[in-house]
Symmetry: C2
């Protein structure tokens, strides 16, 4: 993600991610309500403090949206049931060490506290925010310490580019011309990563705790389906054009692949059942139109840029890629393509009890 709060920053180009969170609010509310009201676990019912983790929190207006929901819903439930004393809240914000935690702490956390005071209206409300750097494909929190885990638009990122995908040639992700072995390598990396994620969380989430995960996925059972690969094909198109103009080397493009996998519903289900620690309460697929990104292809491209730029710069170098020329080319291609069809981002939320 691009850090900071400038024009190309993720913070200023995360409208689609906001829409997705908004869409999953009823599910988040149901999970939190069940956590508080239906849990038979004394660890939850007698808790003086409730701890939630936002995994892949990024830096921007979305970072604390679900935390706000969490505090508001719990406070409402407590008041409704005559508990004057609200629990203390711990909000643990996780992302990779390169995430811009400074901006969260300096800009977004103070606004969060101000909004909380206004909306929940209790000066005796304690809500402690902390930043937890690290990969969620490893342990991040103490055992049995979390009541609620949320992650949105992060779990489709793999821990690394799969091995044995050098033969993927001009594709930068699974594409229509990708060999079968490349697709298998991507899928197996997803299986390993997702299973590791579940095992780590199963140690951290306490008995009775809940988890709501939303990730970019696909409706089709075919991993090379256009619905998830399209946007990367557009990016590849711009890169190929730069190769033909001699701006970047062909070999450099050949060795570039995106560490992402957008699973199908059944692939997610299979992995959860195989790992065995969690029970699925709800598993669904939803669509969000590209138009939700701000109404035009230009904004879709800006959104993609804010996400992909660090990957591109890391591989091809800053000099070539943060040029107005490349950005303009990619923006133009996406804008054109977005006008031709109504491609969509697919999100799938689910949770466990």
């Amino acid at each position: 993600m691009n850090g900071g709060i400038g024009e190309a920053s993720y913070a200023n180009n995360s409208l689609v991610q906001e829409k997705v969170i908004s869409m999953t609010k009823p599910i988040i509310e149901a999970a939190i309500t069940e956590l508080i009201m239906c849990s038979s676990s004394s660890m939850v019912r007698g808790a003086k403090s409730l701890c939630m983790a936002e995994l892949g929190c990024s830096t921007g207006p979305n970072t604390l949206i679900v935390a706000m929901e969490f505090v508001k819903i719990v406070s409402r439930l407590c008041r409704k049931h005559g508990h004057d004393q609200l629990p203390e809240f711990q909000i643990q914000l996780n992302d990779l060490p390169g995430n811009d935690f400074n901006s969260i702490f300096k800009s977004f956390a103070p606004s969060f506290h101000a909004q909380l005071l206004q909306e929940v209206g209790s000066s005796a409300l304690y809500c402690f925010i902390s930043g937890v750097p690290g990969s969620f494909y490893g342990r991040l929190f103490a055992a049995n310490s979390l009541h609620f885990v949320h992650s949105s638009y992060s779990l489709m990122w793999l821990s690394k580019v799969p091995e044995r995908v050098e033969i993927n040639k001009e594709n930068i992700y699974i594409g229509s011309t990708s060999p079968a072995s490349v697709i298998t390598a991507y899928y197996e990396q997803f299986q390993r990563d997702f299973s590791t994620f579940l095992r780590c969380r199963s140690e951290e989430v306490m008995c009775g705790g809940k988890m709501v995960l939303t990730l970019l996925g696909r409706r089709s059972e075919s991993a090379s389906s256009k619905e998830c690969c399209y946007i990367w094909e557009l990016l590849a198109l711009s890169l190929k054009e730069m190769v033909s103009q001699g701006l970047i080397e062909e070999e450099k493009l050949g060795s570039f692949n995106i560490p992402q996998y957008t699973p199908s519903l059944s692939e997610v289900k299979t992995e959860v059942e195989k790992e065995g620690s969690f029970t699925i309460n709800r598993l669904q697929v939803s669509e969000i139109a590209w138009a939700a990104c701000g109404g035009c292809g230009y904004n879709v491209a800006k959104c993609m840029r804010s996400v992909a730029e660090p990957l591109l710069v890391g591989h091809f170098g800053e000099l070539v890629f943060v040029t107005a020329a490349f950005v303009a080319r990619f923006l133009a291609v996406v804008a054109l393509m977005a006008g031709l069809g109504d491609r969509a981002f697919v999100a799938r939320p689910w949770w466990r009890g």
Copy 2:
């Protein structure tokens, strides 16, 4: 503090703070040993995870020194007493929201983990680092969640410049020409702040927990004693020179005061007893020679600059103060004065059971 890791950064100019931590290591070790071995609290003895907080952690090589000691001492004690299973460790790093947490997460935390693996030598060791932004003159952590609290060279910073010190004229701290009412205002601010600090920590530290605090103080009962005011008088001297040269306005200097108070032993003791939550196990005063800053006045001045520059820039503006001219002038004055006497920083560690 100056952020980052550049030449003027706190990270590169915190040798004196390192010496102080080094000096207090036996006290830290005794406190941790008592925490683990002598505690009658089942919360500590049966704990699967141990949580320590470093308050005013700053950003630099000192940030994680005591955390390393904490993990090493506990691991050694566990092994010595035949506990194969080490507890999980939670290291909570606190400082103001403006602290450079990004550099901690990107540079110092990875080195910490690498060193830990080398020194404790267990791949099954879990040590979770998080950043907690906020003032320690307010609640920062969930109730009864901390086993061990450490803070070094931070608690002499007040929450704000005391009110009613406008009459302090050319002094920027308590100085030999400060009116009695200014000294009283500073002392009362220290009393309010320190008492608030103790009340907040008493809610967060669990029964049987330990706290080791080191702060800049003074031997003398007189708050205007040269031992603590001297360094600020040197800085004031440089500022006055700039006024005489018309580089800054006299009024601007008149309204600048440092939010610091260096208490005496009895002032600390009085406050702890008055607040009543903590028992003092040990309270002592130690000296560290200016020479420990790196051997010369130039290094003392660089150390002071890395601490004071943000305060100066905040008040006088960047244009005037981050000039080589000012820095050179201050460095020269301090170097000269340091050569004349053997002024010392006074540190006072203490802890409670």
